[in-house]
Subunit: 83 residues, 2 copies
């Protein structure tokens, strides 16, 4: 078994409204920053042990499908690194 860290990034699907991101963008603009767009996402860093990086990735994807992401409104991606 090897120790891995899987990073799951959960984003709203294209077209889903994100009022929090809009508010944040407007607050930055009010502070004088120039930006074209701002998107927010949740990131989960999961330490786990697995036989291989591939198996760690599969396990983290299953966690995203079952709990971390809502498939109706979210997309997610998984990155795995040795720890």
């Amino acid at each position: 078994m090897t120790a891995y860290t899987a990073t799951v990034t959960v984003r709203l699907k294209h077209g889903v409204l994100d009022p929090e991101a809009e508010t944040t963008q407007r607050a930055l603009e009010r502070l004088g920053f120039e930006l074209e767009d701002l998107r927010s996402a949740d990131r989960f860093e999961i330490d786990l042990e697995a036989e291989s990086a591939e198996s760690a990735r599969e396990r983290a994807s299953e966690m995203a499908e079952r709990l971390l992401a809502n498939p109706t409104i979210h997309d997610f991606d998984v990155e795995v690194v040795d720890r």
Copy 2:
């Protein structure tokens, strides 16, 4: 001017309690997943135009310092890519 996307990742500092992450970890364990630790973070993807990647990075760092992160409890890092 070049179009960049700056990704700001905002994490709780080591030692700051994260009840949301603990709850998520326990929920995953209750579903039968084995994991050693789970940390959550906020991720902001900011589209902006700048003279150089260095200048885009500085601007995104200033956004984090002034609004996106709370220096008392958060650390942040910034990654910049061409868009």
